[in-house]
Structures are given as structure tokens and as C-alpha cells.
């Protein structure tokens, strides 16, 4: 039954989307973290999705291939009173783009929802198949 495999496909996608949501949460929470344990400002993180085969029938699930640090430059904010300010009075703030992160969040939650609905439909179909001939 390929229908059972849909649970694996949808499950892998939900897993990937929730990881994406997790990075969005961490980015938004640290949008103003000018320093960290390493002394560097927080760098935005992004997930990289890749398609991965699930089962033997050509089904394709989603896998998080990597969590990368956003290579875009840090935001330089003029704040000479800040102890972290450089010689010219600029402080390096995290390169988190709040608007982009909000869009990312909405997209991830919608995709998660689609996968939940997909699972529900599949469950209904499987239960109907079980009652075949009764």
C-alpha cells in the first residue's frame, strides 16, 4: 500500500517545516543580540531543504540538508554610547531581516498545515479501505 508511505512523506515534510519555524523563532528572538558567547553578533540562520526518496515506489520526502548562517553583512548602527561600539561609534547588529523572517514564518506554517490536511485525507482513505466488503 503506497498510502501508508504518505504518512512518511508528510511526516518528513512536517519535520522539515517545524525545523524551519524553529530557526525563524531563533532569528526573531535574537534580532537585537549584538553579542554572544563567541563575542560576535548573532548571525541569522536559514535551513536548506533537499528532496529525499522515501520507500521504494518513487515517493519523495523532505530532508533538512543543512542549517547555514546568513552570509549577508551585519547591520551597522551608529550608537557611540554602546560599549560594543568601534572607533567610529558604530555597533554591528545581527543581520536578521525581520520582514523576511515573518514571511518565512507564514510560509512554513501554511506548508505545515497542508501536510497535516494531507495526512487527514490519507487516514480517511485508509479507514474506508479497511471497511471494504463490510
Amino acid at each position: 500500500m503506497s498510502l501508508f508511505n504518505i504518512f512518511n512523506v508528510a511526516g518528513s515534510a512536517m519535520n522539515a517545516q517545524s525545523q524551519r519555524l524553529n530557526t525563524v523563532a531563533s532569528n526573531l528572538a535574537n534580532a537585537d543580540s549584538a553579542t554572544s558567547a563567541s563575542g560576535e553578533p548573532y548571525k541569522a540562520r536559514q535551513v536548506v531543504f533537499s528532496a529525499t526518496p522515501v520507500g521504494e515506489n518513487g515517493a519523495t520526502g523532505v530532508n533538512v540538508a543543512a542549517v547555514i548562517e546568513d552570509p549577508s553583512p551585519m547591520k551597522m548602527v551608529y550608537d557611540p554610547k554602546n560599549p560594543l561600539a568601534d572607533g567610529k561609534g558604530y555597533v554591528a547588529m545581527p543581520n536578521v531581516n525581520v520582514v523576511e523572517e515573518m514571511v518565512n514564518m507564514i510560509s512554513a506554517s501554511r506548508s505545515y498545515q497542508s501536510n497535516v490536511e494531507m495526512m487527514n485525507t490519507t487516514k480517511t482513505l485508509l479507514l474506508k479501505t479497511l471497511s471494504l466488503g463490510q
Partner: protein, 135 residues
Amino acid sequence: MLNRLDDMLNFHQQALRIRDQRQQVLASNIANADTPHYKARDMDFKATLQGALKGGGTSGATPLATTAPGHLAGNPGQTAAAGLLYRTPAQGSVDGNTVDVDAERAAFAENAIQYEFNLTRINQQIKGLLSAIQG
């Protein structure tokens, strides 16, 4: 007699099996809606069903030609993915993904209803047979 019973149920059985496979392919498309470079896939239901009805359940897969006794026959049962086609995207996207989520979800719902239709038809056939047996 049993042979005829089998023939009677065979059509909807094959149709169910292919609907089942197609559901899985469409599920893969929706799951990969955000994966870069993923190409949406689908199958030609009519051609696959015709192939399955003719070839006795090999899902329309073409077997390898064998001209010498040492040649491998291949395994047509494993090549369900060979019958899959790629969708032509209505609107391209920068990351190379060709999934149109709305179209895929519509196809997914349609395929689910068709699957239920085949289930209902088999149920009716079984009920018909039962009433013929029990009088």
C-alpha cells in the same frame, strides 16, 4: 468460477492500486513545495491503467528486451517510477521548483474522491455477489 470473480473485481482493483500510487506522487509534490530544484511529477492515469489491465499488473512498465539467455529480465514491478511524468510549470520560480501548491492540492483532493469512488464500486460489486449467493 473463481477466475470470473477475479475478472469482475480486477478492473477496480487495478484502478485503486494506481490511484493509490498517484496519491503518493501528489503527496510528494505537496511535501516538497518549498524544496529548491524539486520538479513536480504526476502520472498519466489512463495510460497506466490501460497498461496495467493489459500487462496483468506491471503498471504499464516496459520490460527489457532479452535476446540471449544470459540477459537480465529486469524487474518491471520495481519501475513504477518509470511511468512518472514531469509537470509543465504554469509559472516558473527562481529556485527551480515547479510545484504549484494549489494545483497539487486540487489534484490530491480529486484523486482521493476517485479513490473513494473505486472503493464504493467494489463494495457494490461485493454486495451484488453476496445477494446473488444468498438469494
